[in-house]
Each structure stands twice: as C-alpha cells, then as structure tokens.
C-alpha cells in the first residue's frame, strides 16, 4: 500500500515506486511521448480521461516516475504508489464504462505530511512520529478522494509545520526546483515543490503563518490559505489551532479554485468549521477586474522589502489599474506588532498541541528511561527538533502563571486590533495586494542560525492568519537571478470567490509561464 513502509528517520526518497504493476487497459492513445503534469489542468485531465485520450494510470505513472527522478529535491516523505495506481485504474475503468467522472477525476494530488491518511505513515516532518500510522483520514483528504483525486504521497514539510524554509524537517531539507541550492520556503515546501516540479497536479498544504503562500511564492506556483473555518481541520496535525488552515497549491488559479470547491464547507467533526455557504469558486473566476478596489497598505512596503520584489509587486498593481481596477491606499496600522503577536499565540497553542507526543501511546519513545518523567523528557528531547523545542518553550513560558496576562492575554488583545485593521481596510477596498515574501528564495542554511531573521520571512503573511481572512499567492515575475516572485492578494472573510476572481484576472494579465529549469539537469 505504501511506498516506504517501515523506513526509518532518514528520509524515503521516491522509494518503492513500482514500474510494472497490475494490468492497465492500454486502449488509450496518448499523443504525448512524455506527459508533463504542469501542462495539464485538472479540467483537461478529467476531460481527456473521459474522452479516453489520456489514461489515469499513465498519468499516475508519469507522476511516480517524476517523483523518483527528482528524488533529490526530497519533496516526498512517503510515496503511496500502489494505492495511487489502484485508484487510477478505478478511474480508467469508470471512464471505460462511460460513468460520469467526479470533478477531480485523475488529478494527481500530493498531501502535506501533517494530514492523516488511514494506514499511511504520517510524520508531520518529525522524528517523534517516524513510525506513526493513523487509523483515520483527514476530512479534506477524504473529500479529495470522493472527488476522484489520486493521492500520490505525503510531502515533506518543516517539523509540525514550524518553519519558513523546510530546513526543519527530520527527513532532510527540501530543495527549490528553480535552484537546488535554495530553499523552497516552508512549511509546505514539499507540496510547493511537488507542484512546481511537475510531480503532482496539485497539492494540499497547511498555513498557520504563511506556510502555503510563502513556499508557493518561492516556487512560482499558486497557493491559497482560505478563511479560517472554510476548510475542515479534522485530521490536520495541529500547530496553532486558531491559525491553522488547509489549502491547495497548484499551477493555476483555476486549479486552486477547483480543489477548493471540493474541500471547502462545514464538517461536523470540526467545531470551528463554518456553516456559511460555500461558493462555486470556479464559476466565480468569470468576470473582469473593472471596478475592483485594490487596497495597497503602505505598512507592507517598508524596510526589509527586497527592491526587486517591490518593483514586481508594483508592476502587478499597475496591471490591475490597467484592467480598470481602482487602486486605494489603505492602512493596517497594527502590522508592526504582528510578528510578536503571532509568535506568542502560535507557540502557546503549539506548546499545548504538542504535549500529546510523550512516548506513551504511539510514535517515538526513548529507550531505557529509569522513570516516567525521564521517559517524557528523553522522548521529547530526542524526538523533537531544535525549532520545535524552541517554540514549545516559548509557548510554555507565554502561558505560565504570572506571565499569561502580559504575553498571551496581551497578544490576544492586539490580535483583535489587527483583525479590526482588516475590517476597516475592507471598508474601502475589495482585496488587498502585498508582497508574499520580502525576498525570493534564499539559500539553504542562510538563515538557519538566526531564528529572528527567519521569522521575518513571514512578515507579510502572518497578519492574514491572525485576522482569519483568506490570502492567495500567485507568481508575478522572476528576479534577476531567475527566481520566482509572488504577490499576495488578501480578501474579506469567506470572500474567496471575489479574491480568486481578482487573482485570476491578474494571472491572465501577468501571463507568468516560466518553468523551473534547474531540475531538468538533476
């Protein structure tokens, strides 16, 4: 069932991809010699499978081959080749018998390894879960499967989604397909790379402070963090429960919208999921940008922003203007407090969320501890990486007796100020445009010794999580070094329809179609 059953802590790169498996109907005439996943939209895949000009099995094989060939990027922790091929066969069979195909039929989807899938090893990028096989499946993943998607594997990520570079994974760092010496961003780095390098049609990531948008930006793909409560968190391994949100990454706004259509909506297993009606996000893409009010918050264009990034963002905003949108100056005055507020709230929640990894019931347990207390502390000392331990300590401190009011309590108050900043700004605009990340992809190891510097790479994305609003990142150009630059658009609560329409218009205007070349030499 799984590509890499029983593998230890040391990665599992594309292992166990079977070359010949089962019997697949071969009556399909594929015109391509070589299937390029990045060229195939979800809609095209479904239409061609239905028309019998593409076989899901063939597409799945292509993805698995690619995953194996690009194993050096370390995008996957576990590849579920057998299950994926079996699913692909089912879809081909359904197509052969003329059954109507579900909306995501044949789409190859990679799942960040912090979402559980029944029977499939789920590590959250941590040693402490090196052997953990959950008995149930996350709602978002289940909904993708119901919609006909083929889950190809579990992607590498920063340990418990804590990081902005994917260097905090116990299974080794993920490399950026545009330049393998650079980071892909994090924490959903593996998901972004899987999409950018053509190993999957799309991927699910999770975003607590920018973990979908920042890697999407650094890898040149589209990624959306929906409104808090739009997508069920059931089965998402918690980091900061009041901030975490699952969202898709893909090569186009349309594909992102299509996946959102399948995963969004109330789930009775998640009390924080909203029962506000979902929209048809694909249908919502129709329509131009005329009359759209695009807010530009000056606080997001200050110190620390790479001039090249700024130039591209400004050019993108200009495109909006050319399309007939109105550009509005907006203020988000409490932005300067966002980083400290975020690192208090997220770490406080994390310190509690990660208490369950104690070696008692599942996962890693340190051997030969003389006492229970020793067992706890050795297990957690050896099981968690440095960044996770740093955040657990920070969060524990913030919640401690005597400090709660000054830290966690205060942070919650400022959080509500940040929320009202957005409410006020949205009184005069429909979407807000900012950079996604202050710089393009940085080098592996460049910021690992300076956590504060690393934390600042989330500076434009964390306010969105604190306010609970949706944010999307899409590529808006390449730097002089040939690295992708992303622009972030932020929408009102549960207004993903308008947000995605704005993104679709900008995407069309920018017509970004570069592909990461570096990987072809691997």
């Amino acid at each position: 069932m799984q590509g890499c059953r029983g593998a230890g802590v040391q990665g599992c790169r594309g292992a166990g991809v079977p070359q010949e498996q089962g019997s697949v109907e071969s009556s399909i005439i594929s015109t391509e010699i070589y299937l390029e996943l990045r060229e195939l939209s979800i809609r095209t895949i479904r239409e061609r499978i239905a028309a019998r000009t593409l076989s899901a099995v063939e597409l799945c094989r292509a993805a698995l081959d690619r995953i194996e060939r690009l194993s050096e990027l370390n995008a996957f922790i576990t590849v579920t080749a057998d299950a994926a091929l079996a699913r692909a066969e089912q879809i081909d069979r359904a197509a052969a018998s003329g059954d109507p195909l579900p909306p995501l039929a044949g789409a190859i989807i990679a799942i960040k390894d912090n979402m559980v899938i029944s029977g499939v090893r789920t590590t959250a990028g941590s040693r402490i879960l090196f052997n953990y096989k959950p008995p149930y499946t996350a709602t978002a993943v289940e909904r993708l499967r119901q919609a006909g998607a083929i889950v190809v594997g579990k992607t590498n990520c920063d340990e418990f989604a804590m990081g902005s570079s994917n260097e905090n994974s116990a299974y080794g760092p993920v490399k950026n397909p545009w330049d393998a010496a650079r980071v892909p961003g994090g924490s959903s780095g593996g998901s972004a790379v899987a999409v950018a390098a053509g190993m999957a049609t799309a991927a699910l990531g999770s975003d607590t402070g920018g973990s979908i948008r920042q890697p999407a930006s650094l890898c040149g793909v589209v990624g959306i963090k929906p409104t808090y409560g739009r997508v069920s968190r059931y089965g998402l391994i918690a980091f900061g429960s009041s901030l975490d949100q699952i969202g898709p990454l893909a090569n186009s706004v349309e594909d992102v919208a299509r996946i959102l259509n399948s995963i969004a909506g109330r789930d009775s297993s998640d009390s924080t999921s909203s029962d506000i009606e979902t929209d048809d996000y694909v249908a919502a893409l129709e329509g131009d940008a005329r009359g759209l009010r695009v807010g530009v918050p000056r606080q997001y264009y200050g110190e620390g922003l790479d001039p090249e990034v700024r130039a591209h963002i400004e050019a993108a905003i200009k495109k909006f203007e050319e399309m007939g949108a109105e550009i509005v100056d907006v203020g988000l005055p409490h932005t300067e407090y966002a980083v400290p507020v975020y690192y208090l709230i997220a770490t406080a929640e994390a310190s509690s969320n990660l208490a369950r990894y104690d070696g008692v019931r599942y996962g890693f347990r340190a051997e030969e501890a003389p006492t229970l207390k020793e067992m706890y502390s050795r297990t957690r000392d050896q099981g968690f990486g440095a960044e996770v331990k740093r955040r657990i300590m920070l969060g524990t401190y913030a919640l401690s007796a005597g400090y709660y009011d000054a830290y966690y309590g205060k942070a919650q108050k400022v959080r509500s100020l940040i929320e009202s900043d957005f409410r006020n700004a949205f009184a005069s605009c429909d979407v807000i445009a900012t950079p996604t990340s202050p710089t393009p992809a940085f080098r592996l190891g460049e910021k690992t010794d300076d956590p504060l510097e690393m934390y600042l790479s989330d500076i434009y994305t964390i306010t969105v999580n604190l306010a609970g609003v949706p944010g999307v990142s899409l590529p808006c150009g390449l730097s002089s070094e040939g690295l992708p630059i992303g622009i972030q658009l932020i929408g009102r609560h549960f207004d993903e329809a308008r947000l995605l329409r704005a993104a679709r218009n900008l995407e069309r205007a920018i017509a970004f179609n570069s592909k990461p070349g570096a990987v072809e030499n691997l």
Binding site: D270, S352, R361, L372, S400
Partner: protein
C-alpha cells in the same frame, strides 16, 4: 483543646453526567467494558482529531445547575488544563476555567453532628454556597496492579477518557466533617433525583476532594489549607476530614506550621499522606480551547429545562411532612430516592391513607425488597396493589395482622391483593347479615348460656364471641361481632 478550634472545609465534587456517549466524541460511556474498546481518534487524543461538544451534556449540566440554584452563564468558555500524565492522552484536559458553565449557587439542607454511635444529635437547616459548576472531560484510568507484569509496567485504559464530568466546587462553608458529609449526601441524592448522575461512587461516577484548614474559633482569617484527595466514599470523606482536622490542630498546638500541600487519604491506615508540596504543584497553563467555540446556552433552553425539573428531594421532604403529616424521619427516608417517593405518592393517591402507606412501604415492603435485593421501582407489588390492600384494611375487610400475610403472598406471587385475600377465604367478614346468621346459630346452639346471660351473667358475652369467631374461622370482624352479638343477646323480643 479541639473545642478551641474551628475547621473550614470546602468540597470539589466530580459528578459523571449520565450521557450515553462521551463529551467530545460519539464513544460509549459504558462502565466495565474491555480496556480501550470504547475509544476513537478523539478520545485517544490522536494527532489531528478535534472535539465536538455533545449537546446532551449541556442539557444535563443545566439541570444540575438549576437544582443547585446556580446561575447558568449564557456564554461559557472551554479551556485547556495542561499537564503530563500517562492517562491524559492529549497532554491537556479540556475543562473550564475563568468563564465556567455556571456560578453563584447554594443549597439549604438539614445537617447534624453525630454522637458516638453515629446517630444524629440535632438536625438543623443550614445554607452552603456553591461557587461554580463547570464541565470537563475525564481522563483515562491507570492500571498499576493486576497485570502479569505489573511489577515493571503500568497500563492505561482509555475507556474513561472523555467521559463527561461536572465539577461542583463549594465555598469553604463547612465547619465540620458531618456538615461536609451531609452536603455530599444531599448532592448525590439530588443529582440522582434529577437523573444526571448515577451516583455510583465505587465505579467513580461521583468523586470528592476537599480543602481543609483549621483556625482558632472566632479568628477571621483562614488557616493554611491542605487539599485532600481520594475521598471516594462517604466514610472516607468523613474519616479523612476528622483525621486531617485533628492532625492540623495537633500540629498547631505543637507549634508547627501547616504547609500548603496535597495529601492522599489511605483508608487502610486511616491516615493522610503528603502527595505533593506546593512547590511541586502544577502550573496548568490554562488558556481558552481554540478547537471549541464558546458554549452558548439560551434563555429559552434554560426556561424549558427549568419547567421540566422534578420537585427536589429537600422540598419534597418538607412537603411530605406538611401535606401528609409524616414524621420527619419517615419523610426523609421516603424522599431519599425518587422512586420511593414516587411510589409513596402513588400509594397515597390511590389509598387515601398517607400514614398507612408510609408505614407499609417503610416496614413490610422495605423488608421484602431488602431480602430480595430489589429496587422499589421494580417491586412485584405495584403501588396500585399496595393501595388496594390498604383500602381493604381501612374497610376492615382484612385485619392488619392478616394484611402482613397478604402482602407477603402478593410479593412472592405477584398476585393482586383481592386475589390473595379471596383465596385465603374471603378475608375478614364484616358483612352484618352474614355475621348475624352465624350469631343466630351460636345462640340457638347454646340455650343454657343464653339463659344464664340474660339472667345477669354478663361475662358470658365473651363465650358467645368466641363461639362466633370459631364458627367464622376467625374471619369475622370482632368489632362487628361484638356489637351485633350484644344487640342480639340483649334483644329479648326475638323469642328465644
């Protein structure tokens, strides 16, 4: 020495709410199943699982709050209480902290000190304040004994994990172990009465911790308090409190200082032991549970539940005394549990004789129930049948003495009073015509005695009564026999 001191006691009681499923998942709350058989990702605390509040819990907690005169907050908040323990699968317990489910309650109950033999000295009504009732989930159960490798390993059974609890915290209003005891009894009875807790202390459905301090009588400030744990029976509670009060007084008298600590009651040794000192106390790092929205309880819901509340035992006890003229003791016994009180009222309604109903229930029926280990709501003698038997006594159809036999038969056979009495030969005969016929025979058969009686030997009345009773096989109503016989003997115009 002890007279110079006053104890100050507060109780924290954990009551398991009687829902079928757990507080945050759909797993069964059944007791005694195979370890870990009633579990799921949520109550196992698996990565990614999320809690969903069981609405039955809100309903039961509201009923409990209303019974204890607590104010239900329209909005309350779940919080996480963080600590490490093997039976706590998430590393935190979902509880409530600074915005609990309900606050500011009180009860007014009879309480009394007890003498050497354990009998109440003098009952009096006292009011005790209840700080709050809040909701939380139970932890699992650690099994340190009973396994083949228990010497080296402990096991954890998570069936209990996620079972709904109401924690009921009192103000430090108790001044003696018996006050605490009476309060605990009252609480248990009330919660069982309104159907929110089964009150089974052996199975852990009701658990008790106490805070105890002592101070010199008349002192304003409280002494240093000690937390007592493991007081899981009424006896434990009372013994442990007595022990702890004595221990603290002795320590103070000896010039020692009481240290703030948590102590564990050991029933076998009849002692409390230090479990952890203040320095070792947990910092629970409470913070609002981000996985659950605030718990909202609407005014309408509260009013609807209030309207459906049964009469509470204390109010019922007082009413039984006033309305039915029962003795305090009888009323207390009958209202101790709702089924008995309901049974009593049903018998009273159908028989019209409350005192007799109370007597029969508390004596003859209680004995039968006890002997067969039967609950009163399963009694083979229904309230209606007991009532019809009482009516037969009141109508002098059967004598009180006979009735005891009748009830025993009814209990054994499950037959109706009428059926049993009929089989026994029709019961007591009070029918005057029938008795007159027997009297006529007796008089006719003994002309000599009649003559002597009429000649003035009045004592011979007894002889005739005996003859009539004998002829009726003892079933004739003696009062009727007496009256009619006198009439007959004194009536010389009958031509005997």
């Amino acid at each position: 020495m002890r007279e110079n001191y006053e104890a100050v006691i507060g109780l924290e009681i954990h009551a398991q709410l009687k829902t079928d499923s757990k507080i945050f998942c759909g797993c069964s709350t059944r007791f005694g199943d195979e370890p870990d058989s009633n579990t799921c990702p949520v109550c196992l605390g698996l990565p990614g699982a999320l809690p969903v509040l069981n609405s039955r819990v809100i309903e039961m907690a509201t009923r409990a709050a209303l019974a204890l005169n607590l104010r239900v907050n329209r909005e309350s908040i779940f919080s996480r209480k963080n600590y490490f323990y093997p039976d706590l699968p998430k590393g935190y317990q979902i509880s409530q902290y600074d915005r609990p489910f309900s606050e500011h309650g009180w009860v007014e109950i009879p309480t009394s000190e007890r003498n050497q033999s354990g009998h109440a000295v003098a009952w009096s009504m006292k009011q005790f304040r209840i700080t709050r009732l809040h909701l939380e989930e139970d932890a699992g159960k650690s099994l340190h004994e009973g396994m083949p490798d228990s010497a080296s390993k402990s096991y954890v059974d998570l069936n209990r994990s996620g079972v709904p609890l109401a924690e009921i915290v009192s103000e430090p209003d108790f001044r003696s172990s018996w006050e605490a005891y009476d309060y605990m009894q009252y609480l248990r009875r009330t919660l069982i009465y309104i159907g929110v807790c089964d009150g089974n202390m052996e199975e852990g459905s009701l658990r008790c911790d106490a805070n105890v301090s002592v101070r010199l009588r008349g002192a304003e400030r409280f002494g240093t308090k000690v937390e007592l744990k493991n007081l899981n029976s009424f006896r434990f509670l009372q013994h442990a409190l007595e022990y702890e009060i004595d221990r603290q007084i002795e320590a103070i008298e000896a010039g020692e200082k009481i240290v703030q600590e948590t102590r564990l009651w050991n029933e076998r040794e009849s002692k409390t032991y230090c479990m952890r000192s203040k320095e070792e106390a947990h910092d629970y790092r409470y913070f609002p549970e981000p996985d659950l929205p605030p718990l909202m309880v609407s005014e309408e819901m509260i009013e609807e539940l209030r309207a459906g509340m049964p009469e509470l035992p204390e109010a019922r006890r007082r009413r039984f005394m006033e309305e039915y003229g029962l003795a305090a003791d009888d009323a207390a016994q009958l209202t101790d549990a709702r089924p008995a009180a309901d049974y009593f009222e049903a018998v009273t309604r159908a028989s019209g004789n409350a005192k007799s109903a109370a007597n029969w229930i508390l004596n003859e029926l209680a004995r039968e129930l006890k002997n067969t280990g039967t609950e009163i709501d399963r009694s083979p003698v229904t309230a209606e049948e007991l009532a019809s038997m009482i009516r037969m006594i009141d109508a002098c159809t059967i004598s009180g003495k006979m009735a005891k036999e009748v009830l025993a038969d009814m209990y054994r056979s499950g037959r109706s009073a009428e059926e049993v009495v009929r089989e026994m030969g029709g019961g007591q005969v009070s029918d005057e015509a029938e008795i007159r016929a027997i009297i006529d025979q007796a008089v006719a058969a003994n002309p000599r005695q009649l003559e002597q009686y009429r000649a003035g030997k009045a004592a011979l009345l007894g002889f005739f009564v005996g003859q009539v009773m004998k002829a009726s096989e003892g079933r004739a109503n003696p009062q009727v026999v007496n009256r009619l016989l006198k009439e007959r003997l004194d009536n010389t115009e009958q031509g005997d």
